[in-house]
């Protein structure tokens, strides 16, 4: 804030002159950084490949259409597996994430110095690893198959659900909780009557959103052998069966649209 006194009265500007100069200099540095980074990134680029990219894309597209519709017979089971991986993984994540969220929220944690950091660590740890990488590890441990996929999805989702849910718990209205405590209710009753009703909308929104994301994530888990439609995708790409790849894309797109529709309906019903 810069208010300057002049003979004609005070003049207001958002920034003082040094502040404006500093801001411009900051933008200049940012542009320079971008140019340098671009330079570094494209040093090893073989431009000949880029120049004929449109032809390559057109060629690939030409080989991809029409989709091989008859291949659909072999896709129903993996598609169903994919949905199951997402759904069971989300349910498992809910079971594990809800307690973690209550331990992590400042207003419900039993011990801010000991338990809360552990809960936060679980959340951060889970969030920092992509589901695909969890799946890679779990396939090595559990062997390929659906189980590895389900657990990979669950491990990744604990952090997501836990973080958003504990933030929702921290934002509840404390007066409603106080009122329930004032009736002589025990701690579990305070949780049930004072806190749970307040976080229900957030909980429904978060878990449905995660389920939605998990449908998409579980379509690629098969790439590393963790079950689902990704396995068919990988083998089709490896055998250059492009019309099959197209059909798989269409199937995934349809599934995602379906899950979007389902979660929108459920959310509307719950809130």
């Amino acid at each position: 804030m810069a208010i300057r006194q002049t003979p004609d009265g005070p003049i207001w500007r958002k920034r003082t002159t040094p502040q404006s100069l500093a801001l411009w200099f900051g933008w200049l540095l940012l542009v320079l950084l971008f140019v340098l980074a671009w330079e570094a990134m494209t040093r090893n680029q073989i431009w000949a490949f880029v120049w004929d990219a449109p032809e390559q894309a057109a060629d690939l597209f030409g080989r991809m259409v029409p989709p091989r519709w008859s291949y659909m017979d072999q896709l129903w089971v993996p598609l169903w597996d994919t949905i199951n991986i997402a759904t069971l993984g989300t349910l498992l994540a809910i079971v594990l994430a809800v307690p973690v969220a209550f331990l992590a929220a400042r207003n419900t944690t039993p011990s801010p110095l000991l338990v809360r950091p552990i809960a936060i660590f679980i959340i951060v740890g889970s969030r920092s690893v992509n589901a695909l990488i969890w799946a890679l590890l779990l396939v090595a441990i559990l062997g390929p198959g659906l189980l590895a996929g389900i657990i990979a999805i669950a491990l990744r989702s604990i952090g997501f659900i836990g973080k958003l849910l504990y933030e929702a718990i921290e934002e509840i209205d404390p007066r409603q909780v106080e009122a329930i405590r004032a009736t002589g209710a025990g701690p579990a009753q305070v949780l049930d009557f004072g806190i749970v009703p307040q976080i229900m909308p957030a909980f429904a929104g978060i878990t449905l959103f995660r389920w939605d994301i998990n449908i998409r994530e579980s379509t690629v888990l098969g790439l590393v052998g963790a079950g689902g439609i990704g396995l068919q995708l990988k083998s089709s790409v490896d055998s250059l069966a492009w019309p099959q790849v197209t059909l798989i894309f269409i199937a995934i797109l349809a599934t995602v649209i379906l899950s979007e529709w389902v979660s929108a309906r459920v959310r509307a019903a719950l809130i």
């Binding site: 209205d173 007066r175 409603q176 106080e178 009122a179 329930i180 405590r181 004032a182 009736t183 002589g184 209710a185 025990g186 579990a188 009753q189 049930d192 009557f193 004072g194 009703p197 307040q198 229900m200 909308p201």
Partner: protein, 274 residues
Amino acid sequence: MLRLESLTKRYLTGDLALADVSFEIPAGQVVGLIGPSGAGKSTLIRCVNRLVEPTSGRIWLGDLELTRLGRRGLRRARRRMGMIFQEYALVERLTVMENLLSGRLGYVSFWSSLIRRFPPADIENAFRLLDRVGLTEQADKRADALSGGQRQRVGIARALAQEPEILLVDEPTASLDPKTSRQIMRLLREVCAERGLAAVVNIHDVVLAREFMMRIVGLRAGAIVYDGGPDGLTPAVLTEIYGEEDWTASSDLSDTGPSARPVVPGADELVGAL
């Protein structure tokens, strides 16, 4: 009934909210606690049911020393004290009936409350209370669908559902319009009379306090500066409690009709005058 002895509360921030407050309330007496914002009114009633832990001093409810109770004992004692809040503090997403039955939580087990299976007698009583506060039609509505006055009625019914011996009431009319405020105050007085309940009512509306309270305790900066009948609230006493202000303008208006809100300066403005 309720006895406070040298009650003192100092918050962790170092603010002294209550300084050596002592008074006693006999059964059936409705006491108004007045004073500017920050005088310690809310802290005082929250010390009674120990939503706020007192720093020192003792509080008795009948023969029971509240300040010595452990967790279980405190929960059992809280059942005997119904609390009514400034912004109603209903659980917004639960129905009116569930809110009412939450007053019974101290009496039922966790599992029965989890599956919302309350004893039939509790439910019967809840319907009677709803009828008493005029909300029979609203039993199955969600609390957030009600108007302010209706919500405060639910708040009162919830407190009564506890079958309390005393009501702790924190600014019951602060978010209500003048007419509804008077209706709520009248309802409070009536239910206290019907059930022989004592009550401590925090209130910053001096005119309402004068009209509906049997006794007034004036707090200023955490200490009692007035304790007596509502008639004793002379301009000199009000100045003692709130600070310098032209009090005659408000006392002239105190007998006007129910919908005219008398011009009493809000407590917030008065703090500045102190």
